[in-house]
Amino acid sequence: MAARTTSSIERSSTKQLNNIGLSGPLPSSLSVRPTPIGETFAKFSDSQPAVMAKELMAGSITQPSHLNSSGAIGHIFSSSPGYSTDLHHSSLLPHEKHSTNAHSISQSSNMASLPFSYSSNSGPLPSSTPNNYFKENSASWNIEPLSNFLDFPVNTTIENSPAENSACTVMASEEYCKRNEWQEWADQLISEDDPLTSNWNDLLTDNIQDLEPKVSHVPGNQSQGQQLLPASSGDNCFGAPPASSASSAPAKPRMRWTPELHEAFVEAVNKLGGSERATPKGVLKLMKVEGLTIYHVKSHLQKYRTARYRPEPSEGSSEKRLTIEDMPPLDLKTGIEITEALRLQMEVQKRLHEQLEIQRNLQLRIEEQGRYLQMMFEKQCKSGTDKKASPASATEKPSGVSSDAIKDCAAKGEVEASQVEGDCKSGRDQANNSTAVEERSLEVGMKNDGPENQASENPRQQAGEESAPASKRQRTDE
């Protein structure tokens, strides 16, 4: 699903970002800041990438008309006129406001970061790396900027044409996938070698074309033993990097560690002489798992080491306890209490888990049924509007609602059915109402859990022209 930032988000960070010097060498001062952003930028030892990133931010905000410029890198901005003017001015004064604003960067980054990260038109640097870095920060919702943005009215003048927007939207979803590729790849550049930032732009420009074909692989990329984001659907590329420690590379697609994968990991580690002696590179080689990067292994090894550390001291201490052994009776009593308490805790936890599983299954079933009915309604609407004339065709369609149930809420069903028929032509209305009807019939279905019944379609055919607002769920025209 396309994620598109809008002016309100921009406006929220207007205050903060307005003053950010968006052109000119920034990182020198930024790297001094103790904030995480500073750390990341400090890594780009040369100013280039950060500058590019900032320029991109400025560029994207101030030049929305360029949105369609690059085919490869979509951009999804829209801005209000006053806003862009401000930025135009402010971008000319980079240095003064610098120190004060580096601070606000980290605060606003949570809200503002992602939008800016998609910007691309001016520089060859895909905003992938700083972008993902920002994404780390945006992992937690920063309430402060949000309250700012709530102060602004939602309606703004739109500078972009709708065509641009939709184009951007489409591109944005691809963008997400591409960013993943860039991230992984940009990471390798950063960590494997020293940040050769002078070559940075060249490398990236060269490789942008290479990455494009990869996008098609991304959606289908879901192997058994390991799952890389994105999930199955093509436009569902959540390549969000983990909010891991600042010391690790800023961006990497998240690896889903399964017990099997972990077992392979442990085997490799043991072969290499234990968690202390094993190196990420060695483990990576031994594991021979496709799609696994050194980052994944590195962070996993780190976790593994910390997990191993704890059990060991306790083993050591138990030796001592052997010699100090006395007062077993007292220990025994509290021991029993503790055991019982633990048992109880276990019971509660088991119950909770049980309930959660049941709940989850229900949720899945509900949504599945909803989807099915939605599909049915869409088909029904598409296949013609002359429902009243041909009840026969309707009865052929199976529905998951029992006839008794339908009779119960026939009135309501009729109202909404009439809407469905009447509005079959209009796009949004149709689907919305069919959703409402389907929800209604689902509700009925859920109550009775009845078998499929073809007669259920009939009451809908007898739709009258009753008042629409009968149901709460009707669309409110505002």
């Binding site: 919702w141 959540f238 998240r254 889903r256 976790k303 019982e340 805790q345 509660v348 949004r428």
Partner: protein, 262 residues
Amino acid sequence: MKFGKRLKKQIMESLPEWRDKFLSYKELKKLVRLISEAPPLPDGEREYGKAEAEFVYLLNNEIDKFNNFFMEQEEDFVIRHEALEEKMKEVRERWGPNGSEASEANYREEIAKIRKDMVDFHGEMVLLVNYSSINYTGLAKILKKYDKRTGGLLRLPFIQKVLEQPFYATDQISKLVKKCEGMMDVVFPAAEEELAERAREARDAITVAGEGIFRNTVAALLTIQEIRAGSSTQSAFSLPPLNMPDSHLIQAFQLNSTIPTN
């Protein structure tokens, strides 16, 4: 605002590191209200499209947050699970009945340590599943609100997408949970009393048994029960009320919450 309040309560009861990882339900609700109250403009369609895109954008952010946190926790759990199993094996092989240095005293002691770790581990995993569930519920609710207040059609397609997200795919964790439960009879001495009796015995000792996680799970269970107790807008997409025996007992475990200040 009932769900919002419950969510807040649940968040307060949860482990400190988790607190900012939950759904920002209140903020999203505010946004929905803003969007629905904005006066229609001449270019209404576009405005609507923009507002919706913004909303979707924020939701996607939230989802990313969930995914990241979830997968990170999951990774930790996978590691801890294997470590616990290893430890169990070691203890058995060393001090167990057939072990190299068979010693009942030592064995019991070591097992006791593992027991506590394991119960806590089990608890944390269940809480993660609960985390996933409550965030899903929140998302579903906010989507429903959005559709209702703006006449949008966001809910159905979006929720389908949510269902595919890693954070919702709790199968793996559930498997680990079950495995843990399987190990319980090794780790716990045999007991034949009923839950009620044991509860009486253990009530005083509850403070000993890892208060944080225990309180959290109790709160989670009760929250689920409340959420499903029936809403004002019962629909086809609502879940039926919770069917849980001994719920009165569970309620008795609701400790006076002192918000841990870690």
